[in-house]
């Protein structure tokens, strides 16, 4: 036991008393999804809509799977939309909400939180790039600024 006001930071010994080679074995650091039942079957996957194809390949390759990824949306005050704040890992929705509160609203940043399993989000194809958003091109007449003849007319 250290005395209550002892120096908590004095290095154990100059070179560090415990050698870094005395690492605990891998088995003691196993992630929870080694649980006997197959929890990943019902849990959302671990890839984000932001994830790259490479990452999908990597995370699918038998590396011990972890808690699924959730995307977090925060409403900063009444009357505003929920806005994407970031992501986090959690075993279920209830824990995801609690973690999101601790992670993204430590300073009153929100009055409401949504958490969404990352793999439940469908997103537009990044390879389609411009093509998917082509239809508004050349349709200036959808903007009020297209109509110039009414300039100077009040309340219009």
């Amino acid at each position: 036991m250290k005395p209550p006001h002892g120096n908590p930071e004095m290095p154990a010994s100059a070179g560090g008393g415990s050698d870094s080679s005395s690492a605990p074995t891998e088995t003691t650091t196993q992630a929870p999804t080694d649980a006997p039942t197959n929890s990943t079957a019902t849990a959302p996957g671990t890839t984000s809509p932001e994830a790259t194809p490479q990452s999908q390949a990597q995370t699918g390759q038998g590396h011990r799977s972890a808690w699924p990824l959730w995307e977090v949306f925060v409403r900063s005050s009444r009357g505003l939309s929920h806005v994407h704040a970031g992501s986090l890992h959690a075993p279920d929705a209830a824990m995801a909400l609690r973690n999101a509160r601790d992670l993204y609203t430590r300073r009153n940043e929100g009055v409401s939180i949504w958490v969404v399993p990352a793999d439940a989000i469908a997103s537009s194809d990044p390879d389609a790039k411009g093509a998917f958003f082509e239809s508004p091109q050349g349709k200036d007449y959808r903007h009020a600024t297209y109509y110039t003849k009414s300039e100077g007319v009040k309340h219009l």
């Binding site: 930071e9 650091t29 932001e50 279920d92």
Partner: protein, 330 residues
């Protein structure tokens, strides 16, 4: 057959050229690259290294301060310190999320850190010996971090920039609370003032080294700047930081342990005395005063948390099974 292979190689090369052109255009427009965009392998690798090291630094950085929570001189100081340590954990998590979008799993990063395979900022391998160190860490170490991080808010990789915006908003509390600790000690008894000066003396040089090696010894910097990841060179940021500290140390009534600090009228830059880059490399390579201690603590914390992770997963599994049974019965 051979012609088919040739064809597919040509297709791949064409796709790559198209991706590169798209990437180059985004960078030249000073716009942002997002996770599913094509990016050069080197860009991905550089970012992954930088972001994961940054995340590890936040996580390991909790330790010197967490050690002082129980010894902080008042309830208010304990509460402040806890909030700060909690922020550091949060910063680590924002950054791990950003790194994950580049295709690295969080577990892999955690494992690399615990196994001693990953690097983190050399600064956290120095011991925090007295209460005044909490002040010096907040003022100098977080101050240097802010200098480094503000330009990173404009990093060309979207998720990294967004994480940095969030982090920078929170860091200024860290620096101010450190400054206040030092200010109070500097205005206290002669012994307290001496303690504050001693902490500043010990943290000054390591905090200057946080900006990384001098520009002529920083081979990756140029490429990072060309990719709009870094916006300013190591020496440029270090010089700016020294200038700010010169002002602020006067208000503290303390001094910087560097007789060679001066403003160069010609270059319009602040200059400082020589830094011990051999020491920097030693610490970075794992031979600093606290490297072994920091990793050991991280391992223990990870192991001690195992039952919590297991329980949470078991509970989640049970709930989803119950839900499934309910739906089946309905």
């Amino acid at each position: 057959m051979a012609s088919q292979i040739l064809q597919s190689q040509q297709d791949e090369a064409a796709l790559e050229a198209e991706g590169q052109a798209y990437f180059d255009r985004i960078i030249s427009e000073d716009s942002r690259i997002e996770p599913r965009d094509w990016m050069p392998a080197g860009y991905r690798k550089t970012l992954l290294r930088q972001i994961s090291q940054h995340a590890h630094s936040e996580i390991i950085g909790m330790q010197p301060e967490a050690n002082w929570i129980s010894r902080a001189p008042s309830l208010k100081r304990k509460a402040i310190l806890m909030a700060k340590v909690q922020d550091e954990a949060g910063h680590g998590l924002y950054l791990y999320s950003a790194a994950e979008t580049l295709g690295q799993s969080r577990d892999q990063m955690m494992d690399d850190l615990i196994a001693g395979k990953a690097r983190y900022s050399s600064i956290f391998n120095y011991p925090a010996l007295t209460w005044a160190d909490m002040g010096a860490i907040g003022w100098l170490v977080d101050g240097a971090a802010i200098c480094n991080q503000v330009p990173l808010c404009r990093a060309s990789y979207g998720p990294y920039g967004r994480a940095m915006v969030r982090i920078c908003k929170e860091e200024s509390f860290h620096q101010r609370q450190g400054f206040e600790i030092l200010l109070e000690l500097a205005n206290g008894t002669p012994e307290q003032k001496q303690m504050a000066q001693d902490a500043v003396n010990r943290w000054y040089a390591p905090s200057l080294m946080m900006f990384g090696p001098p520009d002529d010894d920083s081979p990756n910097s140029k490429q990072s700047m060309a990719w709009n990841i870094k916006r300013f060179s190591n020496d440029e940021l270090r010089s700016r930081f020294v200038g700010m500290m010169v002002e602020q140390v006067r208000i503290l009534g303390l001094t910087l342990p560097d007789s060679e600090v001066r403003f160069n009228e010609e270059t319009r830059k602040w200059e400082h005395g020589p830094l011990d880059w051999d020491e920097f490399k030693e610490v970075l390579d794992g031979r600093g005063p606290c490297n072994a201690q920091r990793l050991e603590r991280r391992r223990k914390a990870h192991d001690n948390g195992a039952w919590v992770r297991e329980a949470a997963a078991a509970y989640a599994e049970k709930q989803s099974r119950k839900q499934a049974e309910k739906e089946l019965a309905a």
